[in-house]
Symmetry: C2
Amino acid sequence: MSRQIAVGIDLGGTNIVTALVADDGEIIAIVSRRTDAARGAECVVGEMADTVNSLISDNSIALEDVVGLGIGTPGPLRLSKGYIHRPANLPGWENVPICQWLQEKTQLPVQLENDANAAAYAEYWVGAGKGSCDLVTLTLGTGIGAGAIIDGEILRGHFENAAEFGHTIVELDGRPCTCGQRGCLEQYASPGNIAKYAIEQIRKGSESSLGPVLKANGAFDSQAIAEAAQAGDSLADTIWDEACRYIALACVNVQHALNPEILVLAGGMSKAGDFLLGRVRQHFISRTWKIFEDKPRIVLSNLGSNAGVVGAAGVAWKAHRSGAACLNAATAE
Amino acid sequence: MSRQIAVGIDLGGTNIVTALVADDGEIIAIVSRRTDAARGAECVVGEMADTVNSLISDNSIALEDVVGLGIGTPGPLRLSKGYIHRPANLPGWENVPICQWLQEKTQLPVQLENDANAAAYAEYWVGAGKGSCDLVTLTLGTGIGAGAIIDGEILRGHFENAAEFGHTIVELDGRPCTCGQRGCLEQYASPGNIAKYAIEQIRKGSESSLGPVLKANGAFDSQAIAEAAQAGDSLADTIWDEACRYIALACVNVQHALNPEILVLAGGMSKAGDFLLGRVRQHFISRTWKIFEDKPRIVLSNLGSNAGVVGAAGVAWKAHRSGAACLNAATAE
C-alpha cells in the first residue's frame, strides 16, 4: 500500500492553508491562498475543494490513500452539525454546512474543528506536548485562542465552546472587549492589544524609542515592543512585563481549572522566545500556590504557524484511527 | 436478591458522616461522628471501618449486597494510589493508605475521591444536575470547593487536582490566601471570608445592624450578613453583593473554561436561596458575553449537606457498574 495521508485545512480570515499530512505529522505538501470571504461561502468552499483535489492529484496520491479531511476554522461553530455558525472574521458566513459541501466535492470524510482546538491537538499529537495526555495551548495571536486536550481528547464542553481562556475575566470591570465583556485576558495580553495600548501611551506623550517608529510607520507590533524592551526601553518593558504577568495569571487559573501537565504558548507573541517564556515562568512561579506540586510545565510551541493545519489533519487521522471517520455533518438536522 | 447498597463516607475535619445509599441515591441509614484527627490516622480509620461494619449489620444487610465503599476527603490526595496526602484540616495525616486500610477492615472494594468532586458527582447523579452530562459545582463553604463532571466523568486532571476554582485568581495582587497565592476567589466570596471581612469593617468603625450582634456574640456568619442585607443594612448589602459579583465572575470563567450545561451553587452560603441565586444570576448576565449562546444554567444544590456522603457512595456505585470496582490502592507502589 502506498503511503496514506490526511488533508488539513486551516481556514482563517486572511489565508486558507491546505496541506497533505502523513500519519507522523510530516507535511507532504502545503499551499496557502488568500481568503476572499466576501465572495460568499459557497464559492470559497468550492475553491477549497478544488485546491484539495489538485493537491492530491498533483502529488500523485490515490484517493483511497487519503484517510480524510480535517478543517479548522474560527468559532463559533456547530461542531456536531458540521456548521460554521457566525465567525467574526468571515462576515456573511452564517450556518454554512461546510462539512457536507466539502464532502460532496472531495468524496472524503470531513471533520470540523475549532481552529484553536486543532492547534492544541497538533501540539499534543506531534508538537511541544507530544507524549502528554493533558495539555492546554494558549495561542497569542490577534486575540488569544486556546484549546485543551484531556486524556487525549479535545475538550469541547456542552455547548462545544470550551477552553475559551482568552475571554476569561482577569480584571473585574476592566477594559471593554470586542466580545462584549469587560476585563478579558486578551485585552491585557494579546499581541494586538498590547501594541494598541503602547501606541495609545506614546500618543498621550509617554517617552519611548518606539515613538519614532510610530511616527515613521504609523504603527508597530508586539515584536517591536519585545525588541525595544530587550534594548532597555522602559515603556516597552513595562507593557511587555504586564502582558507576561496576565499570561502567568491565566496559567495559574488554567492550572487550577484543568490541571494539565503541559501549557503551550503559541502564536505571534511566542516568536519572542525566551523573552516571553522566561518572564511568564517567573511571574507564574511567584503567583501559583506552593501547597501542592501540580504545576504544569510551560513551554513554547514548536510548530509555529503550521499548528492549525497540522492539527486539522490530525483530527482527520484521529477519526480515521478510531473508526469514527464519519462525517460530522451526517448528524445535521 | 435483596436490595443492594453502597457505603459512602464523607471524612471532614469536624465530622465523619457514613451512609448506606441505594442505587437511586436514597439514603437508607446515616450516622455522623466527631472527627478526632489528633488520635492518629490508623485509630480513626479503624473506627471508621467499625462504623461501616455496624451500620451494615444493624440494618440487616448482607455483605454480598454491599457493592462497595466510596470515601470523599479534602485534598490534596493521591487518588491513583488511594492515599490521603496531606490535608490541611487533618493535621499529622500524611500519605495515609486509607483505601488499603479500609478494604482490609471491611472487605469491601474502596474508592477514594476528593470531597468536592464527590459532591459534584452527587449533583450529577441524583441532584440539581440530574440528566446533564456536563456540570460544575461551586461549594461555598468555609473555603470554596469545586468539582467538574465532563461527559459523565469526574474531571481530575494530570495531577489529580483539577477544578480548584476556589483558588483561581480574581484579583491580581489581591488579598493573601491561606494557599500562598494572592487574590483567590475564596478570599472574596467564601462565607468564612466575607464574615471575616464584615467583622473587620465593623471593628474599623463602619455602621451596621451587625455591630450589636458582633458585640453580643463576638462573631457572626454569612447567613447573618444575608439576613441583615435583606433587612436593608447597607454595609451587609455591599459585602453580600460584592461576594455575588465575584461568584458571577467565577461563573463566567467556568463557562469559558469548561462550558458546562449546569453550574450548581452549594454549601453554607446557598442556604440564602434566591438572595444568592438572584444576585449571582444578575451579575452573571451583565458580565458574560452575548456573542454566543453558551450560558450555563445556574442553580442551587438540592442535596444540602448530604451531597458529600451521597456522592462518595455514588462513586462506589459507578465503579461497581463499570466493573471497575477494583481498589484504587491496588495500583499503589
